[in-house]
Amino acid sequence: MAKKPSSTKSGGAAVSVSAKDKKTLGSLRVLADEVVDCAEKGRAPHLDVPSRSLSNVRFNKSKRFLEMGSGTNRRELFNLSQAKAYMQTLLISSGCKRLIEEGKTTSLRGLYYMLKHSIEGTKEETFDDQADSDTIIEDVEVTLNSLREEMHLYASNRGNLVGPITLVDSGDEIDCTRMGSAGYSIPSICEPDVIQFKKCTAKFILHVEKDTVWRRFAEDKFWLKHNCLVTHGGGQPPRGVRRLLHRLHKELNLPVYCLLDNDPWGYYIYSVLKQGSINLAFESVRMGIPEAKYIGLRSKDFDRCQLSNSVKINLNDQDVKRAKQIAEYPWFKDKKAWQKEIQTMLGNGFKLEVESLISKDISYVTEEYVPARLEDQDWLD
């Protein structure tokens, strides 16, 4: 950190510091002052990081999304197992402070490289890999109660959108029906100050699990036939996709239907979209879509669609374990249909990917499967 060129205080006049940034800077400062305070009093410095585990997550039944509890984990400098994490937390904080002051944003990976160096006199690196810094960033987010974007950080883009909507992204007007074969790439920050919706004629949103399936729907112009938006999140949807879906749902009143793989992984993607993730429970308010529906694939689809044996993928031990775990989550626990769904899958002993429907016909999924489900309103809630 010391290698940073002169501080922004001298040349900082050019950088406009927004009110939001001021608030973030303030909380960063509090964080640092506490360290000095402790040291001066001869006490061991520590941080209280809100806990981001299942135990500190509460399912709010009336609001129908996950809320973070008040539980915190104490992170101490003078604790063998926490010392490094403590150091990393402060490093990230200092990195964010620099970004804000210089009025720049960077990717998570950028920040990782910005702060990665070997600790003086050792061969040890401050961060071993990006996963290291990513978790710490999330820790700082919850500790400061500031969002990632408020710390001038963004993630790499993941997820695409196609459909009859025109939006303004950073001042550019974009018609999402005319974005070529790849569609509109959903940015990692989808706050109203970045993206505004201008015009939308779509009636609903179909969110699919991954790019390959999305391509099928885009190529078949599903969105045109059914007057909808089709999105994907490349597996577990990143925060940008979730935030955009949330805003589309809330601001434009578009119902969200999900087409995901029939496996624990798919179930959990649905769960995250619907009530928020355990890891980032503090973001659920801004991202959860409690009304989202799960239209497929279902455990019964193997028989219902008369799929061939060859598309079965056997459940492994991990799948079984995860499925049982998901069944136990409070927000699945009370839903009989979901319990039955999970039990059926476990009974089947295999999982199904959305792509397996291609074995019937290339466009089976867009021409028959999804329209039929929508028609029959056959979905899980």
Partner: protein
Amino acid sequence: MKRTPAKSPPVRTAAKKPTEADEADEVAVIDEAETNGEAPAAEKAASRPSTKRRATAESMAAGQRDISVSEFFAKNRHLLGFDNPRKALLTTVKEAVDNSLDACEEAGILPEVWVHIEMTGENRYKVGIQDNGPGIVKAQIPNIFGKLLYGSKFHRLRMSRGQQGIGISAAGMYGVLTTGKPVKIVSCIGKKGKSHDLHYFELQIDTRKNKPEILNGKGEGEDIPFGADGDKFLAKHGVEWKAAKDGTVAHNGTSVTIELEAKYQRGRGSVDEYLEQTAIANPHVTLHYKDPDGKEYHYDRAAEQLPPEPKEILPHPYGIELGNLVTMLQATKAPTLSQFLTSSFSRVSSSKASDVCEAAKLSTRANPARIGRHDGELLYQSLQKAKIPPPATDCISPIGVPLLLKGLHHVVPAEFYVADTRPPTVYRGNPFVIETALAYGGSSAAVKISLEALTEMLGETDARTLRQFLINGFNGIGGDAADKILTEAEFGNRTSPSKLKPAEIAKLHAAMRNVNLEEGQTMNVLRYANRVPLQFQPGACAITQSIMGTNWRAYGLSQSRGGLPSGPVTIMVHIASVWVPFTSESKEAVASYPEIQKEIRLGLQAVGRKLAMFVRKRMKVKQEGERRNVFLRYLGEVAGAVNEINGRDKKKLYDMLLKVAKRKTEQADIKLDDQGRVIKRAEEDEYGDNVLIVKQDEPETPPAATEAAAAGLKKTKEKGTGKAGR
């Protein structure tokens, strides 16, 4: 007919010899009588295939004759430790030094011994050993040095280094056999007599008669005057004689010079090692040693007191055999059986004697000489059955815990020393004491060896592979450690040590220094019997077996199943007894009597428990240190980050955090013990007695022992330096 005389009789003779030293003739006669009895049967079987007799009883009888002990041992010299030239050198030094120490101690003189090995030709060395002992009476010199099985130590039950009276004369015999040069003895019995003259003998052993042959002074030896003339005379005869320091009074003592075919080699099983180990177990001895390269080593005594003189004891009834008893009965001068028992055995009181007689249905007043075989057996059995207290133990003088610690510390550099002396116990009626001492920590010789010394060692080793060289040449390097070193130095396992180029040697040297040997190090075992180091046949020895049979994992060392534990440990086991049961005449290994094994085990456990405390504590300190390190590593980063955010002074913050870190870890140092009390006793108290702890950060003079093992070979100006002077 008949067996050839070469086979069976000699073996019998040899076996009996130790008990009946000078009565060789009788024994041989008995043997002959026995063999005659069996002869016809053997003859029938043997004669069948050939019709013509190859030899007759008469012709064979012509070839049948006595075998002298000397002849027997000249042929079977491996039994005495002369199997190869290298070992011969060691055995020679060892026998001479052992005799010197025994003599000095018996005379109440603090021993000082000079050992000088000189190369006189290809594979030929001249060994000179001199002591400051009482000297030897002129008339006895030839017998002591020129006759096998002649000595004072065999017949008495008393702890001494020598036992049989074979050693030094065998060494002389070996010398004469291999080089033809006589044994040269100088002795002076000191101030009491008027004459301060030295007696000078040149001897050789007549192997056929087992009799000394005096070569000089017309078979009488020579008296040489003390002073310049005498010195000149001795110098001319190639004998060294160190005069007393004041120069006026003749220096009493004995010097023996033997020239023999030998091989000098450093490392394990070497003379250097023997002397070093002798210094450990005999802290009251001063040793001067000049090796063939002219380097001098001085092991100064660490204790000014002689060990208490061991008393001679009578045999204990439990340790006696029927045959012995019968012989004793015949030989005794006691008029009655009761008197015989009380006067010939230890711990037999007159009331005990009458109990024994009663049990054997013999009269206490019976004449011992008239007791026949049958009654003798009854007497023997009742003696074995009677409850007789164990023998007195003042016949043994153990080294004692303080001297064990001192001796070990003197020679083996380590951090932690612990010693234990077991109470005396008895095997087969012979009292014995087991002493154990252990040194833990410190780095091994391999780490400290100099490049020149390594080059030298590589040049003279006969190991075939580098791996073997490392394992055999250095204490504390086991197979694992050797492999590690070789991997580090990027050598193959089978590289020959003699063909290394200088650059490769440097590489090996660097690897030896860099590799952390602590884990791959195997325990270094020092075995002693009556203060004499045992350097060979570790596998056959009860001491090694007991060490391997002990579970060292319980004491914080790692140990593979059935092997020696590993770690930077030196363990010393000393068995002191009036009669140490060796497995062979060359006195290389202690026989495994259950009583002895049990005592060794208990002794090992005693030091092991203390070691465990130390190892655990050290582990904790180490962890604490690591802990502190981890914190220190991150403090700079933390201070930097804080500075970045709020602009506070980085250095000041760092110092403040450092202070907190130190306090935090210090607190952990004095954490509560198992019972929740604050531990703040002094370190030494914690371990109880028998422990010596050397703080590693204390400045210490370079450890002599490792230098000796690593043999820093600078030939120049080495006089009086480096050795054991701490």
